[in-house]
Amino acid sequence: MRYAMVIDTLKCVGCSDCVVACQTENDVPVGYCRDWITETVNGAYPSIELELKSERCNHCDNAPCVRCCPTGASHQLDNGIVLVTGDECIGCGACIESCPYDARYQHPDGYVDKCTFCHHRLEKGQLPACVSVCPTKCMYFGDLDNPNSEVSQLLKNRKYKTLAPEAGTKPQVYYLI
């Protein structure tokens, strides 16, 4: 089992529904977020390219946040999901610094927080909140170890990229391009 997310940039309109859905699902305080939208514009009028995409923790195979955590609060499950145990976190911020994706923030209650791939929903057989609400259905979630899963098939058949591959983190959020 290796959970991964695949996001189709050809369909994303950058509406931020994933951001609000995450906030309400995970009680993320207003003013903070576990996922966000980026917009990249290239070219000059009238030959322009625009890429919109939803970003979050990449649940990296080689996660620097887990390696640098002095208390073990940041840890990785067998299925690849990277989590923070709130009551073991001392809020030192080393993980925030180590993350090349700026995916972590300090929760007002003191601990470090980030995307969990909504693993509490996965337990109930539900998709992550962001995936389940996306009006463009541009987000896919599943098991990369299963070659027949939707995510495996998409990565097999479509062109894709990951963010900051040069950081060597082996990110597990893939972007179809």
Partner: protein
């Protein structure tokens, strides 16, 4: 001149403190068992869910409100059986919780009063506020007749108030959704096909092969099911053609983006028709069978070659030909989308007609992948005595515009300004669910009209700018706290949805059905409100339709089978269009008889003088007009609008991204606040762009106050559509000011 009686009041402190802060994040760690199969399911076992339909915009998506054991609203999730949302809300629907949680909400009724010579509001009881309103209703009726009391409305509350006003004897009713938004396209399409486009638009985007967007920015406007279907169409390999001077989100998803010179769309479409006819690639069978006036059209467009259009639109002739051929190849599974906010240059119903005629040439109306025949189910009327017949109403007020099919808000406002030749004097006004300071152009007209009114009531959930002009403000509870009318939707299949309160109304807010009934009873109109609770009405109606409130509380949405016939034209039969002739009117005798062009022509519109830029405006996906700017969740996503400026312009003016600037328009109107520059290649050098709905002047909107510019205040020049009274708003030009023009001036 006497001192202004209706000076804008920045609402003074109200009772009641804030709400409890959000609970801290849940820690659900430790568990390691995961299911292999992910089942799409929305039910969270420990939460209670209550059906509703969304009121954050007009799309009215059906949803479930989830409340926890303490009865607190946790989240709102789309109803899977709803054809408006297919189980997925947009950010505004998901963020609807913020509308409920917003601390800045109106909390009690307010009455205008004077303290030490200063006008202010004081808190009032419902009893006092409603008594005062009822007294004014009586006085207006006795002195001027009931017609003099006007209603300006939007959204679900409007229906309850419309009922009150009609029972009282007034049909002086209008909504900005018509003449300030989609009116022209309804007229243009009705003239051509005999039926309105309506909402949601019956565009078969899901099955289309080619979607043509002319200034319509699906994806930035989150018209939910359309956004979803556009995404499906992308998956299915459909071609998208976007005509827009701005590189919109939709443009970025398009195979063809035509960066048209603003205000020249009709020229492009005339050239497209020219190509379709000259190259003989229009739907000949469809046109022969269903259309009137083809020969006249052929003759008419023969002069409008792509080469002619190039000089006007800036779109190269080969691009015009290639896109026309692409449409023809996809036909009849092609959609020239009618758009939504289409009040641009004053010839808007003619532009809408051009779009309709293109659809006709492509044979897409009533065809799979084009436009389907929508159907809805009629909700039976709850019994009440017949309405009175007013001596005049919205129709008479708008009589100058022969094809106006709904009240024209700007004309109703003009009717409030006393003059000798004003036959229809409006003396009092109720405004509900619409912040007309941001939906009505020409602020001078608005303020003059409001100043002349004898009485004004505003109903809203928030202290919107418009509440500052009211004599009485009534706090409406949000859609999550009330029952409302049944949502009967027109779609591929009819469906209904109910709105059931998930929680009790916060503060001292009330549902509008209750306000209407209270006012009605005070006016001796109790028999029009023959129920104690509006849910009795819903239950009665549902039972007539073979359901019940009990059933609907469990399912939220009920879908019905079609009864009006097939979704598309049955090719073995001859469809009769609901026009006068029974055919598509390519040549409109009706327009000719009224003195208008029977077939559309391109008219040159004014262009920005040197140093000025055309002010274009649009939508952001996380906001609805001005109503969501203060919503804590949605404000968090976008706090203010920014001014899109082409890098060439930015270089000339020496302005940079993030820099605060002010705008002055051609009539010397200066923006109240500043706006941050966003230098981007996505906008043309002759125009600037901003998202509509910001620049709130009401200080009690603590998050939205003073953030960004209100585009509407810079729209002082209005090009009125002579056919239906629409207010064209895209002909205003602004210059960019880098020094604060308000320095030392209190605003």
């Amino acid at each position: 001149m006497t001192t202004s009686r209706r000076k804008f009041i920045k609402i003074s402190a109200l009772g009641l403190g804030g709400v409890a802060a959000t609970t801290s994040a849940l820690n659900m760690f430790g568990a390691n068992s995961y299911l292999d199969t992910l089942v799409k399911e929305n039910v969270a076992k420990t939460f209670k869910r209550t059906p509703t339909y969304c009121e954050v915009c007009f799309w009215k998506c059906a949803a479930w409100t989830y409340t926890d054991e303490e009865g607190a609203i946790k989240k709102i999730i789309g109803n899977e059986n709803d054809p408006h949302c297919y189980g997925r809300l947009c950010p505004r629907g998901t963020g609807g919780v913020g509308m409920y949680n917003d601390d800045d909400r109106l909390k009690t009724p307010l009455i205008r009063t004077t303290v030490n010579g200063e006008q202010t509001f004081r808190e009032a009881s419902w009893e006092e506020a409603l008594d005062l309103i009822a007294l004014k209703f009586k006085n207006i009726k006795e002195t001027y007749g009931p017609e003099a009391f006007a209603l300006i409305k939007h959204g679900a509350p409007g229906a309850h108030l419309e009922h009150l006003f009609k029972a009282y004897g007034s049909d002086t009713i209008a909504e900005p959704a018509y003449a300030q938004c989609r009116g022209p396209r309804e007229t243009g399409f009705a003239l051509t096909f005999g039926s309105w486009v309506g909402s949601p638009e019956p565009t078969d985007i899901r099955d289309t092969k080619c979607l043509v967007l002319i200034g319509s920015h699906i994806g930035e406007n989150m018209h939910n099911s359309q956004v979803q279907e556009m995404s499906d169409a992308i998956d299915n390999g459909a071609t998208i053609i976007t005509v827009d001077p701005r590189f919109s989100t939709a443009a970025s998803k398009s195979k063809f983006w035509l960066p048209i010179k603003p205000a020249t769309d009709i020229a492009l479409m005339l050239a497209w028709m020219n190509v379709l006819i000259e190259e003989d690639i229009y739907d000949k069978e469809y046109i022969a069978k269903y259309a009137n006036g083809f020969n006249e059209l052929k003759e008419h467009v023969s002069q409008f070659t792509p080469e002619w259009a190039y000089g006007i639109t800036g779109i190269k002739p080969n691009e015009i030909r290639e896109t026309a051929r692409t449409m023809a190849n996809a036909a009849p599974s092609v959609i020239i989308h009618p758009g939504r906010h289409v009040v641009w240059y004053g010839d808007d119903s003619q532009r809408a007609r051009t779009m309709a005629m293109l659809n006709a040439l492509l044979g897409s109306w009533g065809r799979r992948g084009g436009f389907y025949f929508k159907e809805s189910i009629k909700v039976p009327k709850f019994p009440h005595p017949p309405y009175h017949h007013p001596k005049w109403g919205w129709k008479e007020i708008g009589e100058k515009y022969p094809l106006a099919q709904m009240g024209i808000t700007t004309e109703v406002l003009k009717a409030a300004i006393p003059s000798e030749d004003n036959k229809y004097p409006v003396k009092a006004m109720m405004v509900a669910g619409t912040n007309i300071t941001k939906s009505i152009p020409n602020k001078k007209l608005l303020e003059e009209a409001i100043e002349a009114l004898e009485f004004m009531v505003v109903i809203d959930t928030m202290p919107m700018d418009v509440t500052g002009y009211a004599d009485v403000v009534l706090p409406e509870c949000t859609y999550l706290e009330r029952y409302d009318g049944i949502r009967s939707a027109t779609n591929r299949e009819p469906s209904i949805a109910v709105r059931v309160p998930a929680v009790e109304p916060k503060y001292d807010s009330k549902p509008v059905w209750w306000m209407a009934k209270q006012i009605g009873e005070r006016l001796g109109l109790g028999e029009y409100f023959n129920y104690n609770d509006f849910k009795e009405v819903i239950d009665w109606q549902l039972k007539q339709m073979g359901s019940s409130l009990e059933e609907m509380e469990k399912i939220g949405v009920k879908n019905f089978t079609r009864k009006s016939g097939p979704l598309y034209i049955n090719e073995d039969e001859t469809y009769v269009f609901p026009t006068i002739s029974g055919k598509i009117e390519l040549y409109s005798q009706e327009l000719k008889d009224l003195g208008f062009d029977a077939m559309p022509n391109y008219t040159k519109h004014p262009e920005p003088p040197q140093g000025f830029y055309r002010l274009n405006y649009g939508r952001a996906p996380m906001h609805t007009f001005s109503r969501t700017a203060n919503n804590p969740n949605l404000n968090d996503l976008k706090k203010e609008n920014d001014l899109w400026v082409n890098p060439k312009v930015a270089r000339i003016l020496g302005i940079k991204t993030g820099q605060a600037v002010w705008l002055r328009n051609q009539d010397d109107v200066i923006s109240s606040f500043s706006i941050k520059v966003r230098v981007t290649e996505r906008v043309r050098w002759d125009s600037v762009y901003m998202v509509h709905g910001f620049g709130h002047k009401e200080k009690r909107l603590t998050r939205a106050f003073g953030k960004g510019i209100n585009d509407t205040e810079l729209i002082s020049k209005v090009a009125i559509d002579p056919i239906m009274g629409g207010t064209g708003m895209r002909g205003n030009f602004v210059e960019i000011i880098t020094k604060n023009p308000h320095k030392n001036i209190e605003i």
